[in-house]
């Protein structure tokens, strides 16, 4: 089962206001690919910085006063407390507003929220991380945790797809990750000049993957829902079951605490029952159109 959000003690969670953000300052902005940048944020309050802990897969609500909030997965190393990394694609009002900010500017942060990738399920097993495009940042904390404790895990594979070669994120880290024991395969939907790598959807990489034991593997998948459904199908073809697969879902989020009703998918509140779900628990809901 996924680990539910449990960073604060019950008392402190009940007492502090759910709605008051902490002030964070932008220490650095790293442009990644077109329209995508990573914002490295730090709490201005030392106590808030010292208290803050997150688990892989959780998200923060980043707040631009006057514009609104946006739910962004936390993308960095859970053990590193210097800054909190958020990789953001400029899409709506809030994320577009963020592109107007510079290092030194402040904004609000509420979090962490949501369920997390079940890292304890990885111990002693092969781990497949299957993702595409902007789905890699939510899995990056998983990669750091796996590589920081490499000996606890079996074969580690990252299967990563993108629309085109320009859409592959964090390529500058791939060599380091590979040297530490993560096998990385990349593919693109459409090729461009000079690309000598794989062309085709990321499910094909899973179809062809051989160096893992389907009976002793967990698969974490993050990306568009269509992709996740077909990754799961391919995983079943390869002999895995729905109980071995976890996915990260998304819906319109406002309160992030299961009280505003927006993020519901059937009985699940994506913000607090998810966003990470074991596949068997969410699969029937993903196939109903407009649920």
């Amino acid at each position: 089962m996924t680990s539910k959000a449990s960073n604060m003690t019950t008392e402190s969670r009940r007492q502090s206001s759910l709605w008051v953000p902490q002030t964070v300052v932008i220490r650095k902005i790293t442009p990644e690919v077109e329209n995508v940048s990573t914002y490295h944020l730090a709490f201005t309050d030392k106590d808030a910085a010292a208290r803050y802990r997150f688990k892989p897969g959780q998200f923060n609500m980043l707040y631009l006063p006057g514009v609104g909030e946006s739910a962004i997965s936390i993308s960095g190393d859970t053990q590193s407390h210097a800054t909190l990394d958020h990789t953001i694609r400029s899409a709506g009002n809030v994320t577009r507003g963020l592109t107007q900010l510079k290092p030194g500017d402040t904004l609000g942060l509420r979090g962490p929220f949501g369920s997390s990738w079940p890292m304890e399920q990885c111990v002693g097993r092969d781990v497949l991380l299957v993702t595409g495009g902007i789905g890699l940042p939510p899995l990056r904390p998983v990669i750091y945790q796996l590589l920081n404790g490499r000996e606890d895990y079996g074969n580690l594979h990252l299967l990563y797809g993108a629309r085109s070669p320009g859409g592959l994120l964090h390529r500058n880290e791939f060599d380091d990750w590979q040297s530490r024991g993560l096998t990385i395969q990349k593919t693109v939907d459409r090729s461009s000049l000079g690309w000598r790598g794989n062309v085709g959807v990321v499910t094909l990489l899973l179809e062809r993957l051989h160096s893992f034991d389907p009976s002793n593997t967990v698969l974490f998948c993050c990306g568009p829902e269509v992709m996740m459904r077909f990754v799961a199908r391919t995983a079943f073809d390869r002999g895995m079951t729905a109980e071995q697969i976890w996915v990260s879902t998304e819906r319109n989020m406002q309160c992030a605490v299961g009280l505003c009703g927006h993020c519901q998918l059937g009985p699940q509140f994506i913000c607090k029952d998810g966003p990470v779900f074991r596949y068997d628990q969410i699969a029937p809901l993903l196939t109903v159109e407009g649920l």
Partner: protein, 160 residues
């Protein structure tokens, strides 16, 4: 490479595993194991090529000719994938150009002999066609996912 060795290879492949020993023998007798060198064109779009391959490893790129843009890659194939199915279905011309990117070991079937085998022995023919159909259906789903363009940025690249 003896027929028996080829038969063992075929037994392990998803394409041919599950066939009876007898059928595997028949397939082995019309196939050979090859090592396709890197950066080699196996067939070109429009060719009436005559061989069907099941890849055992390596990487092959399929590209299609688009005027003024060149041969655009549409798919790469690797271990377990079917290559060159058109002749097996008596489709005259190849629909893409296939180029090896790395050294690629493969099982090669003569399309003519495969057709002949299937016509003479409909049981084997049924199994072979069924497996080609399955492989193509998986390729079709994958192609649809490419068409859906799921990684497009919904704001700048989306279709809505």
């Amino acid at each position: 490479m003896t027929d028996q060795e080829i038969q063992n290879v075929l037994q392990e492949l998803r394409f041919s595993s599950g066939l009876s020993q007898e059928d595997l023998q028949k397939l082995a007798s019309i196939s050979e194991l090859v090592e396709l060198p890197a950066s080699t064109v196996i067939f070109s779009e429009g060719d009436s090529a005559t061989d069907l391959y099941v890849l055992l490893g390596g990487r092959v790129e399929l590209c299609m000719n688009v005027p003024a843009k060149g041969c655009l890659p549409v798919l790469t194939l690797g271990a377990g994938d079917l290559l060159g199915w058109s002749p097996a279905l008596k489709i005259a011309e190849m629909t893409a150009t296939a180029t090896t990117i790395k050294e690629t070991p493969a099982v090669r079937f003569s399309a003519d002999e495969l057709q002949k085998l299937c016509e003479e022995d409909h049981d084997v023919g049924y199994e072979v066609m069924r497996r080609i159909a399955i492989a193509l259906s998986q390729r079709l789903v994958a192609t649809r996912l490419q068409v859906l363009d799921v990684f497009a940025d919904p704001v700048t690249e989306g279709q809505s």
